[in-house]
């Protein structure tokens, strides 16, 4: 299984960019630039989206019913909102991450990055 599709949902593969976009929209409705900045912040600049990659992901999410476009007072900017289906899929994804972390903790294999670098330096 490829790294990007590690936690794929049967409806749509939740690649890291899509995951972070859903995370950004989980808190409030946003337009493109706002989504882009929130994704950069949440991913600690590991995910950098441009217009092409952002709207490519938005197109896919619109087609799969994870988000919708909403009417606003702003004439030109389009805002997006998470749908109930999007919220459900995102919640399932978070649950899966949580289960994976709990499993790793249970088997004592969950170690912090600082401990990893110390271990390798010995």
């Amino acid at each position: 299984m490829s790294k990007k599709k590690a936690f794929s949902h049967e409806v749509i593969p939740l690649t890291p960019p899509i995951f972070y976009i859903l995370l950004a929209l989980a808190t409030k409705d946003r337009h493109g630039y706002d989504i882009m900045k929130q994704v950069e912040h949440d991913s600690q600049f590991r995910i950098i989206l441009g217009p092409g990659t952002l709207y490519g992901a938005i197109k896919r999410m619109l087609e799969n019913g994870l988000i919708i476009e909403i009417e606003t007072t702003h004439a030109r900017r389009r805002y997006y909102r998470l749908t109930d289906k999007g919220k459900t899929i995102f919640s399932h994804e978070l649950e899966r991450y949580n289960e994976a972390v709990e499993l790793a903790k249970k088997h004592n294999i969950f170690i912090l990055p600082k401990q990893v670098s110390l271990a390798f330096s010995l």
Partner: protein
């Protein structure tokens, strides 16, 4: 709170970014072009505010995003529509364009071979006699050079005709709202084939006259040059 520019002024950079968006399929552009342009404006404004100018890193990011995004959208189009419908609807390549292009391949091959032969002899202004001596013994020059005339004259004319009529029909039937550059981009291949065919015919019939004309036009004028070179 994000600071973003709401200006719709068509700056030079915005115009060039808008042109690059033509790499994307039409259906995608119709849906997201305006939003992508607004986002580009915001990104540029932020870059300028933070660093005083748009760094090379910024443009590298924009270009790599453009290539990745366009590739993904075209790949998705092929998956959804299949290759034939994709070529017709998205790339605007019809069967007639392909036939026209194929008809110009022999002439193009001859031109490229001639160019290479001239480069090899280190003199691009004179024909390579060895190359033409070789050609004269091939099928091209057999039977009164019928095949050569097909390649040099008939094929380019046919390529022009089978692309010109559909293009003219398109111009007659097009929507009035369609802008000039959209017409050009939708029919780019047809226009290219018509232009190339015309150029090839000019080369065929004018390859002696044209250099002669340019050699004499300044000394004896346009009309006399044309008369002189036609009779030469």
């Amino acid at each position: 709170m994000s600071k973003f520019s709401d200006t719709s002024a068509l700056t030079t950079r915005r115009f060039f970014y808008k042109v690059t968006l033509f790499l994307y399929p039409l259906s995608y552009r119709q849906q997201f072009e305006e939003q992508m342009l607004l986002l580009f404006d915001d990104m540029y404004s932020e870059e300028k505010e933070t660093y005083g100018k748009a760094r090379a890193v910024f443009w590298v990011r924009i270009i790599s995003d453009l290539i990745e995004g366009a590739y993904t959208q075209h790949r998705n189009c092929i998956r959804e529509k299949g290759i034939r419908k994709y070529m017709h609807d998205t790339l605007h390549i019809s069967g007639l364009n392909i036939i026209g292009g194929l008809l110009l391949v022999p002439f193009t091959s001859l031109l490229i071979s001639d160019a290479i032969s001239r480069i090899v002899q280190l003199d691009i202004f004179r024909q390579n006699k060895s190359f033409y001596a070789f050609l004269s013994h091939t099928i091209l020059y057999s039977k009164n050079m019928q095949l050569l005339w097909l390649i040099l004259v008939f094929f380019p004319i046919l390529a022009i005709v089978i692309n010109l009529f559909p293009f003219l029909l398109y111009l007659i039937q097009k929507k009035k709202s369609e802008r000039f550059y959209e017409v050009i981009l939708t029919n780019l291949l047809a226009i290219g084939i018509i232009f190339a065919g015309g150029l090839f015919l000019l080369i065929t019939f004018g390859h002696d006259i044209i250099p002669c004309f340019f050699n004499h036009v300044l000394s004896i004028g346009i009309v006399r040059s044309v008369v002189f070179c036609k009779n030469a």
